[in-house]
């Protein structure tokens, strides 16, 4: 059966009603007022996305970190340099004593082979 035939069937068999559902008297007259009375004055605010850590906190943490690094470098670097300087000085001293063993430092560019041989045989 098609829709048209169904409608015709219903219309034929019973009184052709638009809608058998009734409402209380004045229902639609007061419906709008009742609905508007339930609505809040303003629309609910859209929930803001809140991060666990605020932007200000992140900035403060970054600033503190930078200050910490700078202060640490300022305090520790001289100490490190001093400790390494002594090591350097000692190395230089050892090198000095190694070099100061009584031999003259030859300037090989200034001497020829005969002179080198003479020095070697003399010592």
């Amino acid at each position: 059966m098609t829709e048209e035939r169904l409608k015709a069937y219903v219309a034929e068999k019973g009184k052709n009603q638009e809608c058998p559902f009734l409402v209380p008297e004045g229902y639609f007259d007061t419906l709008s007022t009742r609905i508007m009375a339930q609505l809040p004055e303003k629309l609910p605010c859209k929930p803001k996305r809140v991060s666990l850590v605020s932007t200000t906190t992140w900035r403060c943490a970054a600033a503190v970190s930078i200050i910490f690094v700078v202060v640490s470098a300022a305090l520790l670097l001289p100490t490190w340099l001093r400790s390494h300087k002594s090591e350097l000085s000692q190395a230089e001293t050892e090198l000095f004593w190694e070099e100061d063993d009584g031999f003259e430092e030859f300037n090989y560019e200034m001497v020829d082979n005969n002179e080198i041989a003479y020095y070697l045989t003399e010592n």
Binding site: M1, T2, E3, R5, L6, K7, Y9, V10, K13, G14, K15, Q17, C19, P20, F21, L22, V23, P24, Y27, F28, L31, S32, R34, I35, M36, Q38, L39, K42, L43, P44, K46
Partner: protein, 186 residues
């Protein structure tokens, strides 16, 4: 009509004119929406609850209305989902499973229509309502929208979020079932 709707949408978007515009929206669509809901839930008190919830939700979602569809389609969509949710909640609270829907639930309400003060149907209307009550909820919605509201399939597709082809098939099957119900009970 389109100009009036555009003007109403502008007023709804404006905080200063929103309430008056919404009151106008309610007045314009309350009857059609009420009967759409009433045909689904059958009982006046339930229809009243669902309709009020529909408009409250529409108010809360007014900022989300993008204008892709008409205001009527948008309201129908909210009302349809509210009606379906209401039926689902009622079914759960009555501890009636979906499979038993044909045997209880809305069918029992349809049986009570005869004693309902707010039902003025004759025996044929009663039979028709019983036949419709035997359909699955969404199919019943499709049938009601097409048969009683004479809604076009394209608009129905926007309301229900279902393709036109599926809606046509669903309606065709609904008509067949209701016709069979009448033949069986004739």
């Amino acid at each position: 009509m389109i100009g009036d709707e555009m003007q109403l949408i502008q007023q709804l978007r404006n905080e200063g004119t929103r309430r008056s515009a919404f009151a106008k929206l309610v007045s314009l669509h309350q009857q059609k929406l009420y009967y759409m809901v009433r045909r689904m839930v059958l009982v006046h008190e339930d229809a009243d609850d669902v309709l009020q919830n529909t408009f409250i939700k529409a108010w809360q979602a007014i900022d989300n209305f993008r204008g892709d569809s008409s205001l009527a389609t948008w309201l129908y969509r909210i009302a349809a989902h509210e009606a379906l949710d209401h039926l689902e909640r009622k079914r759960r609270s009555a501890a009636i499973s979906i499979d038993e829907n044909a045997e209880g639930g809305l069918l029992s309400l349809a049986d009570q229509l005869a004693s309902d003060t707010y039902f003025d149907g004759d025996a044929v209307q009663m039979q028709l309502q019983k036949a419709i009550a035997g359909l699955p909820d969404k199919q019943r919605l499709v049938f009601n929208l097409k048969y009683f509201d004479e809604m076009k399939y394209e608009q129905m597709s926007e309301v229900l979020g279902t393709s036109v082809g599926s809606l046509k098939a669903s309606y065709h099957h609904a008509v067949q079932k209701i016709s069979a119900f009448f033949h069986f009970n004739d």
